[in-house]
């Protein structure tokens, strides 16, 4: 790795009482990278981010951010870091403009000084300049929060689930903004529960129950899925899923948009036999095509491998 580290996490662990939020996490994020943390609620993403943002002390291990120690040099880190927490944390009673001015002032700068950085985003907010932040729509709140996290031109931007609960269009626009910020040389650390956003990162870490299950490029993660994968279609989707799961050679069958992604335990599935099985299950219209696995397929396979599926446990 040529670029120096923006974030280096070594053997970091954190518990809250009896709840282990982070097991023993190692991560190295070079400067200039757009790095994604993917995982469900409770996977430990927020805890990890708060440690990086110097808002929580790790129980053990060490976090180095922009070359500074997260415990002893927290002041240095805070000046160089922009943090957008998962929960909307701006002042609801202040207007859009007042919030932005406030955050600029706190960091000893002005809105004008770094306006070029937020201009693209802020122009979309401009019509609502005088509206109270609490009265903004979800998408607009998110854009304002991003502006406030950027107003001091941070070297590292930490975004905790910025797109949760945001509609598909706003999500797409938000990622376009992140691409532009990356081009400005800002290192970006972002978490998301949406698998389709993982593809847009340079590298991703997949967190589950306080552990990192894998760190790789989206391509590398997808490459972990080695079984042949098929998209199966039929009009009656529920019946299709149940029939596929009952098929003796089935490894997995999960709904994916308009089709069901099916993988077989054998090195190559016998499609004629499978079609006959589906036909016998009353799915005469079923069609099968082999497909390339996507990132979500790979993650789900990874989860199965670990025996970690979130709802399991009581029957284990």
């Amino acid at each position: 790795m040529i670029a120096p580290s923006a974030v280096r996490i070594a053997e970091v662990g954190k518990s809250f009482g009896a709840v282990k939020a982070l097991g023993r996490v190692d991560l190295d994020i070079p400067q200039g990278e757009l790095f994604g943390c993917i995982g469900a609620d409770g996977a430990g993403k927020t805890t990890l981010f708060r440690i990086i943002c110097t808002l929580l002390l790790p129980d053990r291990g060490r976090a180095e951010v922009l070359g500074f120690d997260s415990v002893s040099d927290f002041r240095e880190i805070r000046r160089r870091l922009g943090y957008m927490p998962g929960r909307f944390s701006l002042y609801q009673d202040l207007s859009v403009e007042e919030n932005l001015r406030f955050f600029a002032a706190v960091f000893g700068t002005t809105v004008g000084e770094n306006y070029d950085l937020i201009k693209d985003i802020y122009t979309q907010l401009e019509p609502f300049r005088e509206r109270r932040a609490g009265k903004l729509s979800g998408g607009m709140k998110q854009k304002l929060a991003l502006c406030c996290a950027l107003v001091h031109r941070p070297e590292l931007l930490v975004l905790d689930e910025p797109t949760t609960g945001v509609d598909a269009v706003s999500r797409r626009e938000f990622w376009q903004m992140l691409k532009r910020l990356k081009a400005e040389g800002i290192t970006i650390l972002v978490s998301t529960p949406y698998m389709d956003e993982a593809v847009l990162c340079d590298r991703i870490a997949f967190l589950q129950k306080g552990s990192v299950l894998g760190v790789d490029t989206p391509c590398g993660i997808t490459g972990l899925f080695t079984r042949p994968l098929y998209a199966v279609r039929a009009r009656q989707k529920y019946r299709l899923i149940t029939a596929l799961r009952r098929y003796p050679h089935a490894a997995s069958a999960y709904a994916f948009g308009g089709s069901v992604h099916y993988s077989d335990k054998r090195p190559a599935a016998d499609l004629r036999d499978l079609l006959a099985w589906l036909d016998a299950s009353g799915l005469e219209d079923a069609g099968i095509t082999q497909i390339e696995p996507g990132i979500e397929d790979a993650f789900m396979a990874l989860m199965e491998l670990q025996g970690e599926t979130g709802t399991e446990g009581a029957d284990g």
Binding site: A40, G42, G139, V166, Y194, G257, M300, M303, T311
Partner: protein, 245 residues
Amino acid sequence: MADAVIHTENLTRKFGAFTAVDAISFSIGRGEIFGFLGANGAGKTTAMKMLTGLLRPTSGSASVAGFDVRSEPEKIKQNIGYMSQRFSLYEDLSPKENIRFWGGIYGLDRKTLREKSARLLEALDLQEAADTRLSSLPLGWKQKLAFSVAQLHEPKIVFLDEPTGGVDPVTRRRFWDMIYETADNGITVFVTTHYMDEAEYCDRISIMVDGRMAAIGTPDALKDEFGVSSIDDLFIRLVRPTPIE
């Protein structure tokens, strides 16, 4: 639609000069999974509040589970199930207590409630955790429990407001297995989501844009009609016809 569980005609809600829901008309049948999509601020929440008897329409009409939203909102509340990520169960109560509490609210008698509670805890594999405080259970379990609790009183229709937010992809799909099963039993499922792949799991979907229904139909028919390959593309096309940039 002969056995429509929801039927609206020109359903409208204004707030002052602003029209949040603008004359929407549609019907949803028994056992149908209906995906209710739209951008943030398109009027989905307002429409859902009217359909669940929480908000009076300004004009137009709607019947839900056979009752009129304007004259019989209390009847509607008794005959529908509702679950959202933010509002569903009490975190300080155990699964068993939550079931008892909601069963009481829905007016189930003691014996029915006891039977249902046992059956439900077994079906959800929650027997061991039956007396554990909800706050210490995984989100996926809570969502399944919330969905089941919303059906304790055997409603004709269940409203699910972003039910799968924040769970892992496997848990999300398990939740959809439950939705399919519910619909298979003849209960109508009305669901909102920001996951566009989930839109394709629905029998029919609608997309709201600025208070109006910009599209309604089966996912396949809509993709054909608009000449797009996914609901994601359709959504983008309808919600943001001219991209910013």
